[in-house]
Subunit: 247 residues, 2 copies
């Protein structure tokens, strides 16, 4: 069944992957600070997510929110992630609960746990024979202030789920590239997420039933140190790509 979906940060790369795969599958309301440069598969709202009134208006008649908006730079300064990622995400969850939205899929990041990649573990961690896996039950260890802000978003999701019952899934997105996995970059190959697996994963976030979940968003790479078992079990995520199957 087609759902009415609000996609924040629609003009970014993850939004591009999602809309590229799912434009015709749901009723889309797209939101971004930047106006669109070409035709869009739905209503487009130009607004900043820190604009509380605009965010509340955008939630009207929405079933599911996919919240991607925020400063996407791993090296983003504190003031920016405090405002755009932490405060912005609180405003999204708060408005979603008030509007009676059923589910929020929150774009978290591999940077929420980047400091597990210690000097002792790398580069072995990035190789096929290494069986170390992060699975979402480990405590966060962000590798930068951007990662701190993503953990704060996950924690906000936990709170809004526990307090108000809204379904929340946090997707720790790996290394998203459009066609080819990263070249000569073992870490990126291990956490590669193809565009079509990204679209499929967020489709499952729209359709599946869940309470509160943290999952890793990567393709089914031979190299991996993030488990995708939870995404398979809870969301019926069935990735089709694997960074090892590209030259």
């Amino acid at each position: 069944m087609a759902q009415s979906v609000l996609l924040t940060g629609a003009a970014g790369r993850v939004g591009e992957a999602i809309l590229g795969g799912l434009a015709d599958d749901h009723e889309w309301r797209l939101l971004d600070r930047d106006p669109p440069t070409d035709d869009q598969p739905g209503e487009f709202v130009v607004a900043d997510i820190t604009d509380e009134v605009a965010v509340r208006d955008a939630m009207d008649d929405i079933d599911v929110v996919i919240h991607l908006a925020g400063d996407p730079r791993p090296e983003a300064p504190w003031d920016s992630v405090l405002t755009n990622n932490i405060d912005g995400t609180q405003k999204i969850f708060d408005a979603a609960v008030d509007a009676g939205v059923e589910k929020v899929a929150f774009a978290s990041s591999n940077h929420a746990v980047g400091s597990y990649e210690t000097d002792e573990r790398t580069p072995e961690l990035y190789r096929t024979h290494d069986d170390y896996r992060l699975d979402g039950t480990e405590l966060p260890r962000p590798s930068n202030l951007y990662g701190v802000s993503k953990v704060a978003g996950e924690t906000l999701g936990r709170y809004y789920h526990d307090e108000y019952g809204i379904s929340v899934v946090c997707v720790r997105i790996g290394n998203l590239t459009e066609s080819h996995p990263p070249i000569d970059y073992e870490r990126g190959q291990a956490m590669w997420l193809s565009y079509r697996d990204c679209a499929h994963l967020f489709d499952r976030c729209i359709r599946a039933d869940y309470d509160y979940e943290i999952v890793y968003g990567i393709s089914d790479n031979d190299r991996k140190y993030y488990s995708i078992e939870r995404a398979r079990d809870v969301l019926d995520y069935e990735p089709r790509d694997n960074s090892a199957h590209h030259d």
Copy 2:
């Protein structure tokens, strides 16, 4: 050996407990938004922790920071905890690292995990025969936005430790009362922290060696659903009080 300690939020209740027990044991620099109303056991700086310049000045020649300042109200609104607790704590960690401070003890809260107290678990959870224990390895589940802000402070501590090597201990403080444990309040009795155990616990945070730790700050109550084993093991915390030993 006496340490040079910066105590933020010195005029609050936790500060009162700490200074009541340890006034003569360390060299204190006290910081609070509110000026003191009586004699103090050290230099007193009147400043808000969101004042970056004042915070940086206050770190000069400091060995250890005990960071208590922030909005202490469980019902505090988001805007206040975003500014006072999340942004304020980032400024403390950032300035501490830049000043070469060795250790930061961060006052976290039982509200960081308050949503583990589900309808199914309570009130049994608060009773002596129940052996459910939170021990700091569980994922946070804050019960309010104040709790979210405390988790964000813990996450900032994790990042600043991993990135810069500064020692960080997060103390999830229970129910602190001066003389008598809470009466007719099972939850409060289970997480009671006496003033003298509080002072002793933060003395251990000043003196012990650790990397990054999350510990629970409660007395050795017969009733308890927070483990104090990690505080015993890492900090040599030896509480002397027990809410069961009061009528």
